[in-house]
């Protein structure tokens, strides 16, 4: 809200600078977001009279004038074509300072000494009216300061008023707050109604709950015109555009005392009557903002005998607006239920200074006085005669006093304010009824304070006025249980630090994605929650997987020169389930490019492959139980929303105890192509963090290892290319050789010396016992058994 400091001072005498005032406002909860100084940006300019004007001897376009500034007559060279003898002008004496810190001094112009300058409005930083100098017209005394004539300088403050304080949404309201804080008296409110003729004018309120008070006053024979300068200056100072005297007066009263008013042209009202009722189906309102609104059924409107003429408390109709042609005015001063005003404003998406105040709550007892004040000003400025107001009022419930004590307030604040100080603070903003017998007393809030209902509300008032800085710093003693993390947070920390140590960067992506993004990843938006009114199509769907975001991150960084991209993200995926939305914590990642940061040793920098991704998932699942791997297409692999994004042949699902918990694989070529990743060989993974967090975990158990040396045997086996390595291990373990300690694959070879369609797998078998060293014969027998089984089960032969 824009506040004029001069205007504020009309209600409360204050000796503070605008910046000091801002500091005080902040202390009582009103942030001042901005401050602007209005007024003359010049000094030393006085009213002068051009006594004579002659052509400059050495310049065609200059004149030599003699200016009388009341004290002396001086020669001034002037270049303006409109300067002439006899004009009253703004004369800058030598020593004057014009906007832009332009100092005026006596100087020679083409050989003629010029003592000062005759100014244009633009040169004074004022709105321009005509080209050339400012001709002021008769009136001001010679030598009078032009700055002072323009009115005193003003400071305009942008004050932020929180939604609980609608009572401060006006100059008087804010002055009242400051008066309470400074313990000063508000100046009495001038004006008011001067005369009232008897008149009757039918006003009907159909729903007194929605409109507890409605007052309408007829003013006849008005002459609506331009507002006087003081009124226009006031409105302009807070950024309002003057319209005509009657409209300006209602706006002025709104910003002066906070009561929104509305003026109708009585002759435009059908049937010369006012009905406050609910809108009916199909009704429209062409409003003052030149737009026509389709009114939903049931909004509170002001209607004449025929149609709505205003959306109650929000905006008047264009057809019944007061114009300079208006002769008879009906002035409305009402109290509308805040909920109604808000509903009307929200449903029509129409906001106004008026609705802003009504929906927050105006002072129900100020409606009449405000209308009186406006009527008085109309009579004064636009003339006419006023009838007595016609009112429809519902009985208002009495305000309930709050029982409170200084002790209770101090308990809320944790402070030790004296009884007297507490009561004094509250007296400044309401009635304190203290019978003197005991510590408790009754506080009753004034009609404009809808926000004071409980002891906590009063504690805030006391805190504000006595100063938050006077409340001590205290540490509540610990009585809650020892601090702990949730299982999901514990697990997500493990996962995050593990992945970062494995060389992945943590990414943060949005939970909302576009349908296009999902499609580019071969995912569907079907079954996904959507937001009702997205900011844009890019933000329409809640993600089913973290991977689309990570693919974009990879594409983004590659296009900006990165050659290795390793990202992970911990976040939620969403799915609709009935009337609910399922949220699942997941962790996903993408790898592409060299796995080692060793560019200058290219031999050591292979690019990330499926097996790097597999290692990461194995790390993530460490300790979670035995992993069963299956291709996504295999029965038992289960399904996840991310599946279509994976390469169907080159991806695996990890299942633990029958539960699919993670997927790792190459990117589906189509998803890769859509992200310019087709040549990058990107590896992606995705795991269910909720499952990881919820799994049983126990401390690792130590198992003893043999102190005796073990024996190793290396075998090179030739098998069908199509035989998976896992089968080989399976068959070896199936031999149940108890001395077999480990199987290690150390070479995979196909090509020269290996038949077409075959490959050679080199493995190292390690044997050992706890109680003794194995003999060569024992090891040989075990190897023979294994080789035989491999030959029988897989057709494997020993190479060369």
């Amino acid at each position: 809200m824009k506040v004029s400091y001069n205007w504020l001072k009309e209600h409360l005498p204050l000796e503070l600078s605008a910046s000091e005032l801002s500091t005080h406002l902040l202390k009582i909860g009103f942030e001042v977001a901005g401050r602007e100084r209005l007024g003359p940006a010049f000094t030393g300019v006085v009213v002068g009279k051009v006594v004579s004007k002659e052509k400059h001897p050495n310049a065609d376009k200059l004149s030599v004038c003699v200016v009388d500034d009341g004290a002396a007559k001086r020669t001034v060279v002037c270049g303006a074509p409109n300067v002439d003898a006899g004009q009253t002008v703004a004369y800058a004496r030598p020593g004057a300072v014009l906007p832009g810190n332009f100092k005026i001094e006596g100087r020679k112009l083409r050989g003629v000494e010029s003592q000062g300058m005759i100014c244009s409005r633009a040169e004074l930083g004022l709105p321009k009216d005509v080209d050339g100098i400012w001709v002021m017209g008769e009136g001001p005394a010679l030598g009078a300061d032009v700055g002072a004539l323009l009115g005193p300088a003003d400071d305009i403050l942008e004050v932020e008023v929180t939604t609980n304080r609608p009572d401060c949404l006006s100059h008087r309201g804010l002055a009242r707050e400051l008066a309470a804080y400074f313990r000063k008296e508000l100046k009495p409110l001038g004006g008011g109604m001067m005369e009232s003729a008897e008149a009757s004018f039918p006003v009907t309120v159909e729903d007194p709950q929605a409109c507890p008070f409605y007052g309408a006053r007829l003013i006849e024979n008005v002459a609506v015109g331009e507002s006087p300068a003081w009124l226009k200056t006031k409105l302009e100072s807070i950024g309002l555009r003057p319209i005509n005297s009657v409209v300006d007066i209602t706006n002025y009263v709104l910003h002066d005392i906070g009561q929104p008013l509305h003026a109708f042209d009585a002759d435009k009202l059908n049937g010369s009557r006012i009905i406050v009722r609910r809108s009916k189906k199909g009704e429209k309102l062409p409003a003052l903002d030149h737009k026509t609104y389709d009114l939903p059924e049931g909004l509170l409107v002001i209607a004449d005998g025929e149609k709505p003429v205003a959306l109650a408390g929000v905006m008047g109709g264009e057809d019944s607006a007061v114009t300079t042609a208006t002769k008879r005015v009906i002035l409305e001063g009402a109290f509308f239920n805040p909920v109604e005003a808000r509903k009307s404003s929200q449903k029509t998406r129409l906001r106004s200074d008026s609705s802003y105040r009504f929906e927050r709550g105006t002072d129900p007892e100020a409606s009449r006085a405000a209308a009186d004040r406006a009527a008085g000003l109309i009579l004064q400025i636009a003339g006419g005669t006023a009838a007595k107001p016609v009112e429809a009022a519902a009985p208002r419930p009495a305000r309930r006093p709050i029982q409170v004590s200084a002790g209770k307030i101090n308990a809320v604040l944790g402070a030790d304010f004296a009884d007297l100080a507490v009561k004094q603070a509250l007296r400044a903003i309401g009635d304190v009824n203290d019978d003197g017998n005991g510590v408790e007393f009754m506080y009753t809030a004034p009609s404009w304070r809808h926000d004071l209902l409980t002891a906590n509300d009063l504690a805030e008032e006391v805190g504000r006025f006595l100063g938050y800085e006077n409340i001590p710093y205290r540490m509540a003693p610990m009585s809650a249980k020892a601090a702990r993390l949730t299982p999901v947070e514990t697990e997500s920390r493990r996962v995050r630090t593990r992945l970062a140590s494995l060389g992945l960067w943590e990414a943060y992506n949005y939970d909302l994605v576009s349908e296009k993004t999902l499609l580019a990843c071969r995912l569907t938006a079907e079954g996904q929650p959507r937001v009702a009114q997205p900011l844009s199509e890019d933000w329409a769907v809640m993600r089913s997987s973290l991977l689309p975001g990570l693919l974009k991150n990879a594409q983004y960084n590659l296009s900006r020169g990165a050659d290795a991209v390793r990202f992970f993200e911990v976040g939620k995926s969403y799915a609709i389930r009935g009337e609910e939305v399922d949220e699942t914590w997941r962790v996903a990642g993408i790898l592409l490019g060299p796995v080692l940061d060793a560019r200058w040793q290219p031999a050591r920098t292979p690019r990330a492959s499926f097996y790097d991704g597999k290692a990461i998932v194995e790390d993530l699942l460490e300790g979670a139980g035995p992993i069963a791997w299956a291709k996504l297409t295999e029965p038992g692999a289960g399904k996840t929303p991310s599946d279509p994004l994976f390469h169907p042949a080159n991806s695996l699902r990890a299942t633990i105890n029958g539960m699919p918990v993670a997927t790792v694989g190459c990117l589906h070529p189509r998803a890769a192509r859509a992200h310019d990743l087709e040549r990058e060989g990107a590896i992606v993974f995705d795991a269910n963090l909720d499952w990881l967090a919820g799994r049983e975990s126990a401390p690792a158990r130590f198992e003893d290892f043999s102190a005796l040396p073990s024996s190793r045997r290396d075998l090179a086996l030739v098998l069908d290319k199509a035989t998976p390595y896992a089968r080989l291990e399976e068959v070896i373990r199936g031999c149940l050789v108890p001395e077999l300690q480990s199987v290690l694959l150390f070479d995979v070879y196909e090509g020269k010396n290996v038949p077409e369609g075959k490959r050679s797998l080199a493995i190292r078998l390690t044997f050992g016992r706890f109680d003794r060293t194995l003999t060569d014969a024992e090891v040989g027998a075990a190897v023979e058994k294994i080789v035989a089984a491999l030959a029988y089960e897989l057709g494997a032969s020993l190479r060369g």
């Binding site: 809320v412 504000r464 993390l485 960067w505 943060y508 949005y510 009702a532 080692l596």
Partner: protein, 350 residues
């Protein structure tokens, strides 16, 4: 052999030894010299062998002399050999030298996101002060996001919560982590001391200082006889741990429907000496969090006995803290995942 013969051989061996050139011999020559004197037919070997032909007295006298000669010969050879090995090593080591200034070869580097580290740091400090971690869903209903927090449907305070509602479902994306206050109180009995960090959503156009998705850390304490003074104590302690022991705080009145009294907390600008700069919008103070004493209306909607329990709550914007701590001017960086941005944050630096 007579003693005279022996002594003659001794003198000639001694002089031959002197002239053998051990001092300048290379390893090959050194072996040749050694064999020449100590080999099977070597001069020294012969000399030692022929001692047996002498009388006991002569043996006793000349034996040690011969041994002495041999020992000094051994020393000479050993010393030369050691010298040659040292020189050889030095040359070989010199030849082995590699360029140690080449860049290190490292396993790939990865780090946590600066919002994670900031959020963890905030939570860590509160954890030390006894606050447990609490969580709640991101998709919420009106009750938990608004109504239970004393923000009824027609309350103008809803204007400051531009809300994403879901299509065809009576649900919304939570606009603040205060929802978790409600969920925590629904599921636990006081006393409580929790932080609720997490993601929140606002229907707001994205620019350098606004994001439609951002993170908050909500805090809630419920106990007996807790007041505004405890809020001040806890938050001042937190801010001084986060930003440094000399951090100055300012508590000024504000309004939130779910707290009463309410406050916004500023810290003295740490970019300028209070004279004003763009970071503090020329006020000398930086707004860092909102807080207040829990409004008894919230306890009432939860079903806590508002006569017995009191509490305070606060909310901190994680992005805002991260921006201040790291001097990031544009919020969008946090969600672009540009490696050139992410590489600048080592979690050990917070």
């Amino acid at each position: 052999m007579t003693r005279a013969d022996w002594e003659k051989s001794y003198v000639s061996a001694e002089s031959a030894l002197r002239e053998a050139g051990v001092e300048n011999a290379d390893l090959l020559k050194l072996e040749e010299v050694r064999v020449r004197f100590l080999g099977r037919k070597g001069a020294l070997t012969e000399l030692l062998k022929s001692l047996k032909d002498l009388s006991i007295e002569d043996k006793r006298e000349l034996g040690p002399k011969a041994q002495g000669l041999k020992a000094s010969f051994d020393d000479l050879i050993d010393a030369r050999r050691a010298a040659l090995e040292d020189a050889g090593d030095a040359a070989a080591l010199e030849k082995d030298a590699i360029d140690l200034t080449l860049p290190s070869i490292r396993p790939p580097k990865g780090r946590l996101h600066p919002l994670t580290t900031t959020l963890h740091e905030i939570a860590r400090i509160f954890q030390l002060m006894g606050y447990s971690w609490a969580e709640g869903p991101f998709v919420e209903d009106e009750k938990h996001n608004f109504t239970a927090l004393n923000i009824p449907e027609d309350h103008p305070a809803r204007d400051s919560h531009d809300t994403f509602y879901l299509q065809n479902l009576p649900l919304l994306l939570r606009t603040h982590t205060s929802t978790v206050q409600v969920r925590t109180m629904e599921s636990q009995r006081p006393p409580l001391r929790v932080v609720c960090p997490g993601r929140v959503f606002r229907h707001e156009q994205i620019d350098a200082t606004h994001s439609a998705i951002f993170h908050q850390v909500e805090g809630l304490v419920v106990d007996e006889s807790v007041g505004f003074a405890d809020l001040k104590g806890h938050l001042q302690t937190f801010l001084q741990k986060l930003l440094g022991a000399s951090t100055k705080t300012r508590f000024r009145p504000s309004y939130f429907p779910f707290t009463e009294p309410s406050t916004e907390v500023d810290v003295k600008c740490f970019f300028c000496p209070g004279s004003g700069c763009p970071a503090c919008k020329h006020t000398g103070w930086i707004e860092i969090l909102g807080a207040g004493v829990v409004n008894p209306a919230v306890f009432e909607s939860i079903g806590y006995d508002e006569e017995k329990w009191s509490g305070f709550a606060f909310g901190i914007g994680v992005e805002r803290v991260a921006m201040l701590l790291h001097g990031v001017r544009d919020l969008r960086h946090f969600y672009t995942n540009d490696l050139r941005f992410l590489r600048q944050f080592d979690e050990s630096l917070l």
